[in-house]
């Protein structure tokens, strides 16, 4: 089987409730802060939206880590793709009907869809994962907040007309879909195993989210209401810090790290 987990709940590290608070509050506050600061102080503040996406992605990674530790029976990527599938439906609905309350409507819609799918997975499909309902709710909410955060970074607002014009109609929504989904699913997929540690997994999440932030910054070059340079620069800085931290943690968790040297040249082999 391609199941990833060890068959039990992942333990250790920061309690999930704290991460939920970081993800929900960080994601929502940053979406609104980005929106209002761009209106009040200029497009340079669009990057705050991406910071919210990073909070949501870290929360999503932690939720994926918990639920996938039980062994989904299929690869970890499935749940990340599902997160963004639910998230994109809910977030576009929320932004389309919600107006200024868009991010909150989107988040609530995503949570409801996630809860129902989690319940179906346990009750109908009989997956028997005790935290499935909660985790699916969390993952869907994280997916929706990721999409909204990256949209704010790309357009400087979450008002639907701008998002539709700059993000959806141009097809950049597909970039958000894959970059955000990858950031949520990849960290646990890359780090799973008996020596998996929460801090290492979440550091990978920050690193992947920083890449998504840089991509959002590149897209922002075509948008008038969002500056590209701050988003790209802060994204690169965050990526560098997170990647250094990740390498450090890999060295900490590895039994031994040794250099093998360069490959021998042909003369040396003779």
């Amino acid at each position: 089987m391609s199941a990833g987990g060890a068959g039990g709940e992942a333990t250790g590290g920061i309690p999930q409730n704290k991460l939920i608070a970081v993800g929900v509050l960080g994601g929502l506050i940053a979406a609104y802060a980005g929106h209002f600061l761009v209106q009040a102080a200029g497009p340079a503040f669009a990057f705050i939206g991406a910071l919210g996406a990073i909070c949501a992605i870290v929360w999503g990674c932690a939720a994926v880590r918990r639920v996938a530790s039980y062994g989904l029976g299929t690869g970890v990527p499935s749940i990340g793709m599902m997160a963004l599938g639910m998230g994109v439906v809910a977030s576009l609905f929320g932004l389309a009907v919600g107006g200024i309350a868009g991010p909150i409507v989107a988040f609530i819609t995503a949570s409801i869809i996630g809860l129902v799918i989690g319940a179906l997975a346990n009750k109908v499909l009989g997956m028997g994962i005790p935290i499935m309902e909660q985790s699916m709710t969390e993952i869907a909410g994280a997916g929706a907040l990721t999409i909204i955060g990256l949209s704010v970074a790309m357009t400087g607002t979450f008002m639907f007309d701008a998002v539709l014009e700059t993000v959806v109609a141009t097809g950049y929504i597909a970039v958000i879909f894959i970059a955000g989904g990858m950031a949520i699913l990849h960290p646990f997929n890359a780090n799973l195993g008996p020596d998996e540690q929460q801090d290492r997994t979440l550091t990978t999440g920050v690193e992947k989210a920083a890449i998504a932030m840089v991509v959002a910054g590149i897209v922002a070059t075509v948008s008038e209401d969002a500056s590209a340079i701050p988003t790209i620069m802060i994204g690169l800085a965050l990526w560098y810090v997170a990647f250094r931290k990740y390498v450090e943690l890999v060295n900490r968790d590895a039994y031994k790290v040794i250099g093998t040297g360069l490959l021998p040249t042909e003369e040396e082999l003779e």
């Binding site: 299929t74 690869g75 499935s78 793709m81 599902m82 998230g87 439906v89 576009l92 609905f93 879909f177």
Partner: protein, 239 residues
């Protein structure tokens, strides 16, 4: 505030069609010979990747071909047929190349571990299954099953796209295309993952005993897609 009841009354047919499309996708995944990571090491029958990647690859190709035909024709039958053909071609090509790699690269004969005789060709299977594996490669029955799965998935995806495109809305055509496509993709992913949890990651095709579990996944997809259909039609219809 949008007129929820009015939009729903006007587009009730499309909500039903989106839901049906989602259920078709969910059913179609059960036909696709998904081998997952074990198949990637030639230790299980099927294509060596997960359900989501396969369903997404085939389904999105179907969506592209359906969208292309939708530009020149309003006929539901034509759009759905082109979606089905696109997805079938995609999955068939994937399986042909996979078979080439398994036979000439890995060096294993295509063999099913779930049945002793291929239900289509009547060829003996169990003799060719290597010890310690769950079969390998893509026997004829899995190939045929995969193509059927591609067709159903393509029909489902194209139905969803067609329905969302025809929802009454004030959006311009290009915005509508973008919004309908991304909603269709989102709904497609949800319905590709639900059956993959149902089959537990791997399945050989319609001859696999796990195939009989499909009503569960289709029911789960019915509920999940119904919600997504309401949300999608409301969002598009409200603009």
């Amino acid at each position: 505030m949008i007129d929820i009841a009015g939009i729903l009354a006007e587009n009730i047919l499309y909500i039903v069609m989106v839901t049906l499309g989602g259920m078709l996708i969910s059913w179609s995944v059960h036909f696709v010979p998904v081998g997952g990571a074990p198949a990637a090491m030639a230790q299980a029958t099927g294509i060596g990747t997960g359900t989501v990647q396969l369903a997404a690859g085939a389904g999105l190709t179907g969506l592209v071909t359906a969208g292309a035909v939708m530009n020149v024709s309003d006929s539901f039958a034509l759009v759905v047929a082109s979606g089905a053909v696109g997805a079938m071609i995609m999955i068939a090509v994937t399986m042909i190349v996979g078979t080439l790699v398994y036979v000439y690269g890995v060096g294993v004969p295509p063999a099913s571990a779930k049945v002793d005789y291929d239900p289509i060709t009547k060829d003996r299977q169990d003799l060719y299954v290597s010890q310690g594996t769950e079969g390998h490669g893509l026997p004829t029955v899995s190939y045929v099953s995969g193509v059927i799965g591609g067709a159903l998935g393509g029909i489902g995806g194209a139905t969803i796209y067609y329905s969302l495109m025809n929802t009454s809305t004030g959006l311009s055509q290009s915005d509508l295309v973008a919004l309908a496509s991304i909603f269709a993709v989102g709904i497609f992913f949800v319905n590709a993952v639900i059956p993959s949890y149902n089959i537990g990651g791997t399945i050989e095709g319609f001859h696999d005993p796990k195939f009989k579990k499909w009503p569960k996944a289709v029911f789960a997809s019915f509920v999940a897609t119904l919600m997504c259909a309401f949300v999608g039609v409301l969002a598009i219809g409200g603009l």
